[in-house]
């Protein structure tokens, strides 16, 4: 039930936002994340954006993992 999905915020008008995932659009509320900006990936739960996804951190995580585990690759 705590499932939340990252989707891209494609437009907003005050606290109403429109997010997109694989071509599907859905209206959500930005009441819990008023600082979200168009273009951000936001985590959506039960019709509300609840967090911004830090894409740079995501990329860095994967990069670091690949490096750290390079030794394990057989």
């Amino acid at each position: 039930m705590c499932l939340a999905v990252p989707m891209k915020l494609v437009s907003r008008e005050e606290l109403k936002g429109v997010v997109e995932l694989s071509g599907m659009r859905r209206e959500i509320s930005l009441m819990l994340l008023p600082e979200a900006q168009v273009g951000d990936y936001v985590l959506v739960h039960a019709g509300y954006a609840i967090a911004q996804v830090d894409e740079r951190e995501a990329e860095e995580t994967l990069e670091l993992l690949r490096e750290a585990l390079a030794g394990e690759e057989a």
Partner: protein
């Protein structure tokens, strides 16, 4: 961000865990507290990638599963009153009450509507001004802010006919109750990622200071979960017990302050009953005074004596005492189509996850 399901990375991580696990002084058990993790782990078949002496067990983090039968009875009684329209997330529909379920109530003509968002329930209140719209508030910190926001929206729109039956629960007191249980032997915690988005890493620090144990805030992809298991294994090997946030792309130390601020405006802590864990002080949320008129608990209803399904061992599953196949009803009398207990009904319940994904593991 598809890198988080990269099969090569998954394999490499599994190998790294196996190598690290060689150094373990004894077999270890880690608990995935969150039902969404239970489901993600089962769906990706991650248990099979782990060495036999690294065991994952499910915890009390499936909101529907820990909702006691008395709550469902109350929801049923409210649905039976024709003045009420009951709005609920779909997960709750088939959970057994002392007799019947909301789904069966609906089939006999009660007005029970499934909504995707609490906002939809507010819209139902606007569209049905002559009915009392009762939203069934079940969920943890991830979900509570959305209900708080819906209450504030109903206030703003002047919709006096929007009510909440609050069965909401918060995680830290439940973790404390688990960690205080001497019967449970745990070497590490996989902490719920989306609960943490709201309450932040800092919310766990007091509990973990009292009961030090390796604990990792984790995302839900295969790479996230395996990284978490690797970190927990390393901590055990090195004799550390630290809180590590490995879901930093969405979880911050302080959480989402706007969201939690809204929760604190609308709800106040109260004691709550959990299936399996019993009564836990300060683990529930009740509507605060200015919003008390929206508490659906005020409506007089006649309730049966709560009766948990006969033979169901959900309580032991939720405490991590048994794995689902150890329940005698598992996959015989109890299947997703003939569910005896909530842990088989909810998609996130441990029994349902095991039934769908692990039933034949080890048989082949």
């Amino acid at each position: 961000m598809n890198g988080f399901a990269d099969p090569r990375l998954v394999r490499t991580l599994a190998r790294a865990i196996a190598a690290e696990a060689e150094k373990l002084p004894r077999p270890v058990t880690f608990m995935e507290v969150c039902g969404t993790h239970t489901n993600a782990i089962a769906a990706a078949g991650l248990r099979r990638l782990l060495p036999s002496h690294v065991r994952l067990i499910s915890g009390p983090g499936c909101p529907v599963c820990v909702t006691p039968v008395g709550y469902v009875d109350q929801a049923m009684a409210l649905a039976e009153d024709p003045r009420n329209l009951v709005a609920t997330f779909g997960d709750l529909l088939r959970v057994p009450a002392s007799s019947g379920s909301l789904e069966q109530a609906r089939a006999t003509g009660c007005d029970v509507r499934v909504v995707y968002s609490p906002r939809d329930a507010v819209d139902l209140a606007a569209a049905n001004p002559d009915r009392r719209v009762v939203f069934l508030g079940v969920g943890f910190e991830t979900t509570v802010p959305t209900v708080a926001a819906a209450v504030l929206e109903a206030e703003k729109r002047g919709l006096a006919n929007f009510f909440v039956l609050s069965g909401h629960k918060v995680m830290p007191p439940a973790l404390e109750a688990l960690l205080a249980d001497p019967a449970l032997r745990l070497e590490g915690l996989i902490l719920p990622g989306h609960v943490s988005v709201i309450i932040g890493a800092r919310a766990y620090r007091p509990v973990l200071a009292r009961y030090p144990i390796p604990a990792v805030i984790s995302g839900f992809t295969p790479v996230d979960v395996l990284r978490t298991v690797l970190e927990l294994t390393k901590q055990v090997v090195e004799g550390r017990a630290e809180l590590v946030n490995l879901y930093g792309r969405v979880v911050r130390e302080e959480g989402n302050l706007t969201a939690w601020g809204m929760v604190e405006k609308v709800f106040a802590p109260c004691d709550a009953r959990w299936r399996g864990l019993g009564d836990i002080a300060g683990s529930g949320l009740a509507l605060r005074r200015p919003f008390a008129s929206r508490d659906a608990g005020q409506f007089a209803v006649t309730l049966p004596t709560p009766r948990e399904p006969a033979g169901c061992r959900c309580g032991d599953v939720l405490r991590g005492r048994i794995d689902p196949p150890e329940c005698p009803l598992f996959a015989t009398a109890c299947t997703p189509d003939t569910a005896a207990g909530a842990c088989m009904v909810s998609a996130e319940g441990a029994c349902a996850a095991w039934y769908r994904h692990e039933r034949f593991a080890g048989v082949a």
